[in-house]
């Protein structure tokens, strides 16, 4: 039953349906908007990476000799702001979610296409505000904007950066709103909740967080800006204001925000692990419900960022207990992916390599999070590099790897082209090695007592810092290579065909790239999710 090998990229697709800047900048097509986001967040990723590079260069030597301490404060602030608000939070939802969710549920577009485009413009305006404040002198408050430094004492461009984040928050809210309505109201006939791809469940859960949490940080950041501008001093200690109130309001969003970041990545992993083990996911309902559980429980733990800030010990006890609880659904997911792999027919394509990396590194990051949930341990390692290592393990070792996995997995669908597998595998290896070399030493450094956010450190910490910086240069190569070969593949990559991975899912039943309207006829779904038993084995695989 040979299927003809597709040797050309499908014509009449969303990419060539209308040329010219206006057709892109005024598009309502969710797939084009996804591409717009892809370009923007990639740019912000390299902005954040640039600041990271300067940080690691400074930390090569114990003395603060590359930059002043004030400048160093600006570097880690702007690294954090770029990476968190302008890369990680939009990454999978705005790029992969926007592109795939309508396809995965059999819809023609998201529920509110114009809102989707508005969301990208809002993101861009926010990014411009942030970039302008960075270029015109920077911000030095930390991405966490703690008061009263941010409201009263800092004399850097706090308002510009704060407004940039405030504005970008609305982009996130509108994306989440769009996803929730779409998934509730626009599923194709037969696409019941229990047949929904887990990628959709994860993005749905993340969207709940976006809608409930982002407005709180929005008002908090707005209050910071108002306090700087108009002296509306809600956080000013001189008036009796409580700096911890800022932290409560800030972390009420910013902790769930880490789940906004990781949940969509987990959704990607669910899709990839099933496809490349040719197996149904183990415990579909558990994985789906675990996503919702993470979203809900994630709102109950925020003060674990404040254990040593001055909250009451009783509140700390409560939040510590709740923080242990939130680890459970994440662990459920890891176990279920592992069980999915068991006795699967494993294929080691690049997306799967990244997925393996994710499972291992996210587990390390997640476990160290449980260490931090313990009050006694946290008092020792808080504000040290232990925390820095922990969150980089989950956000980079977890989230960025998941994003790379997803990009590779769906690149053929998005562009109609395969990327070069050899280079891709090399990059994945470089990322994995470089990442561990960069961040594992930081666990040790933190435990030994090296504080974070300092540009100078005692000389006995130098060896580990040098290792970390060396690792970061390897990691950087691992990031730059995909940029190059993905761009290369747009012109020279082998045409991919509709389903190069032989995966199950509605998105794989459309041509690559898909036509603007996604489906000629609305599909009727009669099969279960991840129905790999009934998926024919190796068809002609293109691109290898």
């Amino acid at each position: 039953m040979a299927t003809a090998v597709q040797t050309t990229v499908e014509t009449d697709n969303y990419l060539n349906n209308g040329y010219g800047l206006k057709s892109w900048l005024l598009t309502k097509d969710h797939k084009r908007i996804a591409i717009l986001y892809l370009i923007s967040i990639t740019a912000m990723f390299f902005v954040g990476g640039f600041f990271a590079m300067l940080i690691r260069l400074e930390l090569l030597t114990p003395a603060g000799d590359l930059v002043s301490s004030d400048t160093y404060n600006k570097l880690f602030t702007m690294h954090g702001i770029s990476m968190i608000f302008f890369f990680l939070i939009p990454s999978v939802p705005a790029v992969l979610g926007n592109f795939l969710i309508p396809l995965m549920i059999g819809a023609k577009d998201l529920a509110f296409p114009r809102l989707n485009l508005a969301s990208w413009y809002i993101y861009m305006i926010g990014a411009i505000f942030a970039l302008v404040s960075m270029i015109s002198g920077g911000v030095d408050t930390g991405w966490t904007f703690y008061t009263p430094f941010s409201t009263t004492y800092s004399n850097t461009h706090v308002i510009g950066a704060a407004l940039g984040i405030f504005i970008a928050g609305f982009a996130s809210i509108f994306t989440g709103l769009n996803f929730i309505v779409t998934i509730h109201r626009m599923r194709a006939p037969g696409m019941t909740w229990t047949r929904l791809p887990l990628f959709c469940w994860s993005n749905y859960a993340a969207s709940i967080i976006m809608v409930l949490g982002t407005p709180v940080v929005a008002i908090t950041i707005l209050l910071v800006a108002l306090e700087r501008l108009f002296h509306i001093g809600v956080f000013n200690p001189a008036l009796g204001g409580d700096p911890l109130l800022f932290q409560h309001l800030f972390w009420f969003y910013s902790h769930p925000a880490v789940y906004i970041m990781i949940l969509p990545g987990m959704g990607v992993i669910s899709e990839i692990v099933t496809c490349f083990s040719r197996k149904r996911v183990f415990g579909y309902e558990f994985v789906a419900l675990a996503s919702i559980a993470i979203a809900v429980l994630g709102f109950l733990v925020w003060a674990h960022h404040m254990f040593v800030a001055g909250i009451s010990v009783y509140a700390a006890l409560v939040f510590s207990l709740l923080s242990y609880l939130v680890a459970i659904p994440s662990a459920v997911k890891v176990f279920n992916w592992t069980a999915t792999l068991y006795k699967g027919s494993i294929r080691y394509d690049t997306p799967m390599l990244y997925a393996f990396g994710f499972i291992g590194l996210f587990t390390v990051g997640g476990l160290t999070g449980v260490f931090l949930a313990s009050l006694g341990v946290d008092v020792h390692v808080t504000d040290t590099y232990f925390v820095v290592a922990h969150f980089h393990y989950v956000m980079v070792g977890g989230m960025v790897l998941a994003y790379m996995a997803g990009l590779h997995f769906w690149w053929p669908k998005i562009t109609g082209r395969m990327y070069p597998e050899g280079w891709a595998k090399l990059s994945a290896l470089l990322v994995f090695v470089g990442f561990n070399l960069t961040f594992f030493p930081q666990f040790i450094l933190g435990y030994m007592g090296m504080p974070r956010r300092y540009h100078a450190y005692p000389p006995e910490f130098q060896v580990l810092n040098v290792l970390s910086t060396a690792g970061s240069s390897v990691l950087a190569v691992g990031y730059v290579l995909p940029m190059i070969y993905f761009l290369w593949s747009l012109r020279y990559g082998k045409p991919a065909g509709p389903n190069p991975w032989n995966a199950v899912g509605l998105e794989w039943m459309t041509p690559s790239p898909p036509p603007t309207h996604n489906f000629d006829e609305t599909p009727v779904v009669t099969w279960e999710a991840y129905d790999y038993e009934h998926q024919p084995e190796e068809e002609v695989r293109v691109g290898h």
Partner: protein, 104 residues
Amino acid sequence: MSTEEHRQHVIPTSIYVGIWAVLMVLTGVTVFASFIELGDWNIVLALTIASIKATLVVLFFMHLYYSSKLTKVTMIAAVFFLFLLLALSMTDYLTRGWLTNPGR
């Protein structure tokens, strides 16, 4: 699959006017009650009245009573999460004075 909602259900003008009247009366009650010294119960009473007014507006002016279960759940979720923000923050503020250092 459509929810028929209230597209078929048009609420009579009299109901709207009735709700309006109740809201106006409750406003008067809350102003009047604020002149009476009830100690800590003043705020409880004021918020109770406000919540009754809010519930009437949400259920009838905003048609939540006639809306789908999804919409109802969504509203309840919003109120619940706001409650979480307030309640869990207060676990800190209410207990800050509790623990004194032993030996001090």
